[in-house]
Amino acid sequence: MKKFNLMFLAAASMATLAACSSGDEEASGGSGSEGSADVDEITAWAWDPAFNIAALENAKEAYNGDGDYEVNVIENAQDDIIQKLNTGLSSGTTNGMPNIVLIEDYRAQSFLQAYPDAFHPLTDVINSDDFADYKIATTSYDGEQYGLPFDSGVAALYVRTDYLEEAGYSVEDVTDITWQEYIEIGKDVKEATGKNMLTLDPNDLAQVRMMIQTNGSWYVEEDGSTPNIAGNETLEAGFETYKEMMDADIAKIVSDWSQFVGAFNSGDVASVPTGNWITPSVKQAADQSGNWAVVPMPRLDMEGAVNASNLGGSSWYVLNVDGKEQAADFLLNTFGSNPDLYQTLVEDIGALGTYSPAAEGDAYAVEDEFFGGQQLITDLSTWTDEIPAVNYGLHTYAIEDILVTGMQDYLNGAELDTVLESVQGQAEAQLK
């Protein structure tokens, strides 16, 4: 276009007029103003519009600090966030990085350890005592608090009271039990109702993860990187319990989420031991209202094991880029110190936070008719505080991929010790 104009001008031999057409080039350019630490817009990344994105929007409204900046909420698929963070942080560029990012707890340590300087510590910003202990363990590194805990992944056992009753059990009978007791009840339930007790997905060892956390153990050692498989008694107990469930034939095998949800929505299973975030899915089957109860997670039959565990959950992190002060200020004045926000989160999007002072709010005490008038949020909130803290470390998913195969071998008759040692060997070879 420019070229054409110049041609035309030349043709018209009006060189003097050329100035008016070439003046607009300077308008663009000169965009980078990365030197300034004060920014008037900060960016936050999360992945679920119905859940954490909505929570951010709520937080924007609830913000009660006196900072003057815009918060730009951007939705990215979780895998994209992981990929972009990895790409960006490993190349050392802060260009295009958000100020606030939500990271799943299982993955948090891998980022904190790999890029400790890339995150802005919040140790002096938030009061760690206000949050559930187990969350602090996963969101801190090297003595510094990096994450602001967001949703609780507190696990619970969702049970069908009508099926239990049919088999001669009450809610009390499944409260604070061990997995062995659970299996026994499951057998009776299957005998009485023909329904399986739970679903199992051969490619997802969430059950095992929840089991071992009841005893404060994990796939890795305290350091977060050394695989802790072979000789891990808790894991052994978990595997054994898992096999017992398979042997007892009380599990319905599912291959994906739709089958998992479909199983309890259609009444195929008598219980769902999983994270509290399943509540909305359970309540989808409105015709089952009143037939459900939520009880603490069964524990492993071991010394020190508690009836509390966790599955999933995520936390907010502030990246060490321009605008980190504003980002920290935003988090402090929303998720970090605003109990009212947590009431809104519970009421509007069913998100249960891990901010202890929020538990005293009215929204937490609401009785849920679907669960027979149970004060579900209060209960979950209480159990949250009891979750044993573990360091999820760097390699949760990597090790689990190997464990999935190990479980196959074990279920097919291999010796547990051999299996675990083999997994340990593979993990060490792969991760070191």
């Binding site: 104009n5 001008l9 009006m14 007029l17 490619n203 994906d256 989420w257 479909g262 097919n412």
Partner: protein, 602 residues
């Protein structure tokens, strides 16, 4: 009326300028318009040609992208079809929990491996078994349950066409948030023809769009139209899912006839349509280019027009100034020349303006000067002629006068009045002497009065002294100059015409200075007369001149010829009371004897 006249005059005066200026303006505008429009048209044509070529390339690129994707799908499909584990798991029934557990693990392992082929396209992969098994690699991409999917029309459609890889469009509904294009293939045991499952590769339209989005813009649209004429993908969101069979027909036509492009009108807009058939998809890739919009973006018509306008304005301005300067000087010249008659051709025109105008004015002025000279010569010749006439008249002393005077003298001598006769002869001699000398000479008042006295003496001697003549001469006037015999005709007039009824009276002659003028008055108290008409042109009573050929009329004429129009004779008369004649002359004294007798020329 007046205004109209004025306007007309202005127009007429500027007609040269208006004509020239209008022609120039019209030419400049015409040339500018022609150049502007022809260059816009030429560049548009050129651009559209190159644009269609580059868009055809782009379409080929896009086609390659689609083929790559299709290839990945085909590869994955073949792997799934040939995969024993998947077949085993999908066909197994009545398995134990443990077997199921293993199967699910195994199939997951296989599918995850195969999935990597299409993973980079962000496509999902779903395997549906007839035995209620569903394996959905990316559940969040399409959260669908086994029952729903099994009974979905796309599954039915696929199962009815077991040997084909089909690409089906799935509009956005409650369970697919976004429109998707699903590649489907029936999984069939070849030996028995038994269908054991269906394989799905759903890809979100947004993902598919990335194959071509980089080549598009608002006015350069790309869309994918399936064989039923439904737009399954397009860079314009609102078009997706619409039925456009006419578009499909056009695309088919363009592709079948191998046209480079075709100008069409669809959706109420004129487009340049390019199309490419994607055989594996059984869909048409259609590229619509909104010509006008593209050109509007490419060629800033407004800017070009503005530049043209600027050039035209500047040129018109310059033309205005220059032609104004040129025609102005000529118009001024014309105006000056046309009013020349008012100024007796003696005011030269101003030599201003351009070279040509100056030259013309110069030539005109030289002509004028020459003309003036000739006019002067003509006037001089006329004057000479007139003065010669007057001289001739003056020299014509009436012979009767001399005859009568001599007769009177004879009677006096007979009567013995010797002395009286001698005086009379003296007077006659002096009178004749003065009268017959050169007519152009002036004489002093003193001499003139002496002549008049002689004349009076002769007349009184002849006719008696009933008419008294008194001379009142201011002494300071005695040496003043005046033309010869200028007063004589008036005294003659008084003697012979003023006293026809009254027999007695007097004639008074006064000569005095008044300001710069010499004033002579001849007053009588005779009969008086009625003055009719212009006495300067014709004598009131033209009588025979008794002394010389010079009459009263001639006196006036002579004075004016000698001294100018402000001088002359003034006659006032009242019937029964007398006549008063005033002769006004310039005051000329003898200062230099050498020039004394020269009459100044005017």
């Amino acid at each position: 009326m007046k205004l109209k006249k004025k306007t007309f005059r202005i127009l007429r005066n500027n007609s040269l300028f208006i004509k020239m200026f209008l022609i120039m303006v019209i030419s400049i505008v015409a040339v500018s318009l022609l150049i502007t429009f022809s260059s816009i048209r030429m560049s548009s044509d050129l651009f559209m040609d190159t644009f269609s070529i580059s868009n055809t390339r782009a379409l080929e690129q896009i086609e390659t992208e689609f083929e790559d994707y299709s290839f990945a799908i085909v590869a994955a499909t073949n792997e799934v079809q040939n995969n024993g584990t998947i077949k085993r798991v999908l066909t197994q029934t009545n398995a134990t929990t443990l077997e199921t557990y293993s199967s699910y693990h195994d199939i997951s392992e296989q599918i995850e491996r195969i999935y990597r082929t299409v993973e980079s396209y962000d496509a999902n992969m779903i395997v549906l078994g007839n035995n209620e098994l569903l394996y959905n690699v990316n559940y969040s991409n399409w959260p669908v349950s086994w029952e729903t999917l099994r009974n979905h029309p796309i599954s039915q459609y696929t199962i009815n066409r077991p040997n084909r890889l089909l690409y089906q469009y799935l509009p956005s509904t409650s369970f697919t948030e976004e429109p998707m294009i699903v590649a489907t293939k029936t999984l069939m045991e070849r030996s028995t023809g038994e269908i054991y499952g269906v394989l799905y590769f759903p890809i979100r339209e947004a993902q598919l769009k990335q194959f071509y989005e980089g080549y598009t813009s608002e006015e350069n649209e790309v869309m994918l139209v399936d064989a039923d004429g439904k737009i399954v993908s397009g860079n314009q969101e609102e078009m997706i899912g619409q039925d456009a069979p006419e578009l499909m027909a056009l695309a088919k036509e363009v592709d079948d006839e191998g046209l480079e492009y075709k100008d069409v009108k669809v959706f109420g807009t004129d487009y340049m349509l390019m199309a490419q058939y994607l055989p594996t998809y059984n869909m048409y890739l259609v590229n619509l280019v909104d010509k006008d919009a593209v050109l509007a973006n490419l060629i800033n018509t407004r800017e070009i027009l503005l530049i043209s306008l600027g050039i035209v304005l500047i040129a018109v301005f310059i033309v205005f100034i220059i032609s104004r300067r040129m025609t102005n000087s000529i118009s001024r010249l014309v105006k000056q020349i046309s009013t020349m008659a008012k100024h007796d051709f003696n005011v030269p025109v101003a030599e201003t303006g351009g070279y040509e105008a100056k030259k013309i004015a110069n030539a005109f002025n030289s002509m004028l000067n020459e003309l003036q000279e000739y006019v002067d010569l003509a006037i001089q010749a006329q004057q000479k002629q007139r003065s010669a006439e007057l001289m001739a008249l003056q020299h014509q002393i009436n012979p009767h006068f001399i005859y009568n005077t001599l007769a009177s003298i004879k009677f006096m001598i007979q009567q013995g009045k010797k002395e009286q006769a001698t005086d009379m002869i003296h007077a006659l001699i002096a009178l004749l002497q003065n009268a017959l000398s050169n007519v152009e000479q002036t004489i002093t008042v003193e001499q003139e009065i002496a002549d008049l006295k002689n004349y009076v003496l002769i007349n009184q001697s002849r006719y008696g002294d009933g008419i008294k003549v008194n001379f009142f001469i201011s002494p300071d006037c005695l040496d003043c100059q005046l033309p010869k015999l200028i007063l004589q005709p008036f005294i003659e007039n008084a003697f012979f015409h003023a006293f026809n009824e009254k027999k007695l009276g007097f004639v008074q002659i006064l000569v005095f200075q008044k300001g710069e003028n010499l004033l002579c008055e001849i007053v009588d108290n005779g009969d008086g007369m009625e003055i009719k008409g212009d006495y300067t042109k014709e004598d009131i009573k033209e009588k025979r001149h008794l002394f010389s050929g010079i009459g009263i009329r001639n006196v006036h004429e002579r004075i004016q010829m000698l001294y100018g129009e402000q001088y002359g004779v003034d006659i006032s008369s009242v019937k029964g009371e007398g006549t008063k004649i005033k002769v006004e002359l310039p005051l000329q004294k003898v200062s230099n004897s050498s020039e004394a007798n020269e009459i100044p020329r005017t």
